[in-house]
């Protein structure tokens, strides 16, 4: 997919990579891991202001709430896996974003789930809807992180498909921030959590391609069985380990598995790594080095710690009955070496994995305000039609299945304009997500702006002052010129709207290749926003008393 990839790699390496090396390069160069088609444009987004402690670039963003409190926030999509296995796909989507928050050193305290489906008239769409919700519920509830809001939307264009986005926030003291990269050599790399199996092999490349017609039957390796039990133990063990101050770097294993986590951890500041792949605990017999290196088995975390701290750390992992092994070491040369027993099975310059060239696809504008027919309909009928649309109906069926109160912080619960979580005795954090693919389809630039504006309006409706934003960009294949153009327009819209409010994006996610049967989805940017509100000043949307005046303010 990168036109001169093979030539580039061979020239840089001075030889032909072996099979394992190719596999690792393949994974790291996938759209999902490298952002090669989007990186250039994402640079347009504002990412700094007085609230930002850490912007995009690591597993999640960090926002200052007050002197003693930092809020970590991130958003992820799990569209492809959820379309083939809604329960496991959605559940592991929750697991992934929760670990992203966790690996900054923060306790995950709330989730939002913007989810989208085809029309409910069809059996397959109902099946996807029911099991996506069940997957999110079963996972979020079991790990004790409340799902406090989200969106549920149905649209013709998603027939047979689903967009599952999940945003998560965490809380920590600013001093507890742990980075996802190392700044010294000699550290041990310790892999903690679930054993590694053959699941998710080539998951990232899967997420970087269109779904085939027979996806359901074929893609067993692309989905994983969720294990919220282990995730919950990982959360507690990781937080206990972080509190000791002995965790030098931390990353969760998601797309790209061990290859991605360890190479990014080592490579970011110019170090390298040796990986002893055979030391990775394996769930299935006869696994190869390649399978171990790129498996996307869930519920695993990679810790970088000093040799002398290994014993203390291992006690924590063992207290929580988690399995762990030392799987490698940080070296001061920028190389990436993999051993299988005594045999060296891969030897690459690390930047061949971590510094992937960008791609720019052809972008072709389509005429905005596409020629849609304005339906001939009486105001009465239109009114009824709108009110009876599943997009307007109460989403109670969804959020009643979510524990939205666990951890004892949820002041404003689902069903209102935004959720509010109590952060201390005086202040709360408002959290909301918005997307509107119908607007984005008609005019991607204005549609993107509308997402930001709506999120900000929802924050203000509960009395909160906006703090920061994250964005999740769900698009079809960037190789389609009109899609790529709509992507660029969307980013510009996000940029301009945020600048208007003086807001910054601290984290985000891009998911391309969302299509089924050769049909692109509508451009679907989703924005999640954080705000700060004095508990005394929280407002809700219900009328409070008879005789109150009703006014509309605005243009």
């Amino acid at each position: 997919m990168f036109p001169h990839k093979e030539k580039f790699v061979r020239e840089k390496l001075g030889r032909e990579p072996n099979e394992l090396e190719w596999a690792m390069i393949e994974v790291m160069w996938s759209e999902h891991a490298s952002y090669k088609s989007s990186r250039k444009w994402l640079k347009l987004l504002p990412t700094k202001n007085e609230h930002v402690i850490l912007g995009p670039g690591e597993d999640a963003g960090v926002v200052k709430f007050d002197e003693n409190t930092a809020i970590v926030v991130g958003i992820e999509s799990h569209n492809h896996p959820s379309a083939v296995e809604p329960y496991g796909g959605a559940a592991t989507g929750v697991g992934g974003i929760v670990r992203d928050i966790l690996c900054m050193g923060a306790r995950p305290i709330a989730l939002l789930d913007p989810i989208r489906f085809g029309p409910l008239e069809k059996e397959r769409n109902r099946y996807l809807f029911e099991y996506v919700v069940k997957g999110i519920a079963d996972y979020g509830n079991r790990i004790g992180v409340p799902t406090v809001g989200g969106e549920t939307e149905f649209d013709e264009s998603l027939d047979g498909y689903t967009l599952v986005n999940v945003a998560c926030i965490g809380i920590m003291h600013p001093n507890e921030l742990v980075h996802s990269y190392v700044t010294e050599s000699g550290l041990l790399l310790v892999l903690v959590g679930n054993k590694t199996g053959r699941d998710g092999i080539y998951g990232v490349t899967f997420a970087s391609e269109e779904l085939s017609k027979n996806a359901e039957e074929e893609d067993r390796s692309a989905v994983q069985i969720p294990d919220p039990f282990t995730e919950k133990l990982l959360i507690e063990a990781t937080l206990e380990a972080v509190k000791t101050g002995k965790v030098k770097a931390l990353k969760d294993l998601g797309g790209g598995g061990l290859t991605c986590a360890s190479s990014e951890m080592a490579g970011k500041k110019g170090f390298g790594a040796v990986i002893y792949a055979d030391k990775v605990l394996q769930r299935e017999p006869n696994m190869t080095a390649m399978e171990v290196m790129i498996s996307e088995s869930q519920e695993r975390m990679l810790f970088a710690i000093k040799k002398e701290d290994l014993e203390d750390m291992s006690k924590i992992f063992e207290k929580y009955e988690l399995e762990w092994t030392v799987v490698g070491e940080i070296i001061d040369k920028p190389r990436y070496l993999v051993y299988w027993g005594k045999e060296k099975v891969a030897d690459l310059p690390i930047d061949l994995l971590t510094e992937v060239p960008i791609i720019e696809w052809e972008a072709k504008p389509y005429s905005v305000e596409r020629d849609v027919q304005t339906p001939e309909i009486s105001p009465q009928d239109a009114f009824l039609k709108v009110l009876s649309s599943p997009n307007i109906l109460s989403k109670e069926w969804v959020y009643r299945q979510y524990d939205h109160e666990v951890q004892g912080r949820t002041v404003l619960k689902p069903g209102l304009d935004a959720a509010v979580l109590k952060i201390n005795d005086e202040y709360g954090l408002a959290f909301v997500s918005d997307g509107n693919p119908s607007y984005s389809y008609l005019n991607p630039y204005h549609g993107a702006m509308a997402c930001v504006v709506e999120a900000v309006r929802n924050l203000t409706s509960v009395g909160a002052k906006p703090l920061s934003l994250v964005d999740n960009l769900n698009f079809a294949s960037p190789e389609r010129p009109e899609v790529y153009w709509s992507f660029i327009e969307t980013v510009k819209g996000l940029r301009d709207a945020a600048n208007t409010f003086g807001l910054a994006y601290v984290s985000g996610n891009v998911s391309f290749y969302n299509e089924v049967g050769n049909k692109p989805i509508k451009p679907t940017p989703v924005v999640a926003a954080l705000g700060k509100v004095k508990l005394e000043h929280i407002t809700t949307m219900d009328f409070k008393d008879e005789g109150e005046l009703i006014a509309i303010v605005g243009v």
Binding site: Y87, G197, D199, E216, R220, I225, F229, T230, S297
Partner: protein, 81 residues
């Protein structure tokens, strides 16, 4: 005709099975020498059909199992009218 079907839905070989693992471990802690424990899904149904085998297969594909991660097996016995 009426039939009774017993359907077992299993996770495909090699997939992570946290529930089986946790229950197996608990039995080990209670002193039993468990080598392997699985908790497949199990359905018993009584239904009317002209074509029971086709119906059962379909029910598995459409609802009871997900071919991406599951295999299934079934037994059908006639129960008379």
């Amino acid at each position: 005709m009426k039939y009774r079907a017993k359907i077992i839905v299993r996770l495909k070989e090699g997939l992570n099975d946290p529930e089986g693992r946790v229950i197996g471990k608990t039995l080990k802690n209670l002193g039993y020498k468990i080598e392997d424990l699985k908790v497949p899904k199990y359905f018993e149904l009584v239904f009317e059909s002209e074509n029971p085998e086709k119906d059962v297969k379909e029910m598995c594909k459409r609802l009871l199992a997900n071919p991406v991660i599951h295999t299934y097996e079934y037994q059908i016995e006639p129960l008379g009218e």
